[in-house]
Symmetry: C2
Subunit: 158 residues, 2 copies
Amino acid sequence: MHTPAFHNHDHAHCTGDVMARAEEITRANGARLTPVRRRVLEILLEEHRAMGAYDVLQRLVAEGFGNQPPVAYRALEFLVDQGLAHRVRRLNAFTACMTPGESHAPAFLICRQCNAVAEAPAEGVRAALEAAAAELGFVVERANLEALGLCPKCVAQA
Amino acid sequence: MHTPAFHNHDHAHCTGDVMARAEEITRANGARLTPVRRRVLEILLEEHRAMGAYDVLQRLVAEGFGNQPPVAYRALEFLVDQGLAHRVRRLNAFTACMTPGESHAPAFLICRQCNAVAEAPAEGVRAALEAAAAELGFVVERANLEALGLCPKCVAQA
DNA sequence: CTTGACCTGTTATGATATTACATACATAAG
DNA sequence: CTTATGTATGTAATATCATAACAGGTCAAG
C-alpha cells in the first residue's frame, strides 16, 4: 500500500488534480505526455502504491500496449525525469508523485512490518543533505531518501 | 571509485584500523567474522569502491571460496547487518563502512560524471529525516540516503 | 560424543533491467 | 504535399541482480 501520509483522503480528487498538473508540467517542459505515458501515470495513481515495472507492464499488456519490459521502463523513466513519479530503490518500485512540481526530493517511509509506503515532505532533509554535500564540494542534483522502520499502526501493535 | 571524501588518505592504515574495529564489533555482537566474511570485508576495503555482489564473488572464486551468488550475498548481508558495510542501492553495490561503530546512516554522494562515490557524514540529515518521519508517527530504523550529482572535480571541469 | 545452531556450498530459478534494432509517428523545412 | 528529422513505440534477445531450497560441514555447549 502507498498512502500519502498514513491516513485516508479523497483519492479520485487527488488523482484528477495530479493528472491536470502532469499535463501542464510536461507541456511546460516541451515534453509529450503520450498515451502510454499518461496511462502509466494513471495506473500508478489508481493503484496508489509502489509498483514494480513488471506489475505496470502487466496492466499495459491487458490494455493493448506493448508487452516487453522496455515499454514499461521507458514510460516510468520519462515520468521520473518529469518529476511525476519517483523510484523507490529499496523496493525496486515506482510511485506516482503526489505533489508534482512542488518541493522535490521527498523522503519515503517504508514499514518493514506491513509494507506501507508513505511520501514525507523532506525540505529539511534535503537542505541538510545539500549542506553535508557542500562541505565536500559536491553538488546534489537528485536524491533518494528512503527510511525503513515502523509505521504508526505497527508501532501501536508492538 | 570510492573515496571517503573525494581526497587522498593513508589507505593501508585505514584498512588496518577498520579490520581491527571489525573484529571488536563482531565479537561484541556475538557474531563470527569467519574467513569468507573477513575476506569480503578486506576485498571491499582493498578495492575501495562500490562493488557489485558478482564482482566480489569473482574475487572469492579466485581465492578458492564457493562460486555461487549466495556465497557473496550472504557475506555482504552479514557485513551490512553488523554495520561494517553499506549497500548503495542506486548502484546495486556495496562498500566497506569507513567508520564502523560510529555515527551511522551515512549519506552517499555519487558523481554522475565519473562515478566516484563518497561517504558523507550525515548526522544532520538523519536527524532531519527522523524529525520528518516523527511528524507522521513513523519510527525510522534504517535509512538509505543517496545523492546523485557532481563531485568537486567534475564541477570544476564544467 | 552428541545435539543444536549456525555457516558454507551448490543447484536451480526468479526478478529486475538494458541493448539493439525495426517500425511508426509527429513536426517542421523545403 | 512531400520529405527530412527527431522522437516514440514495439519486439527480440540478453544481461544483470537476487533468492529459495536443500545438503553437508563446523563449532561450541551440555
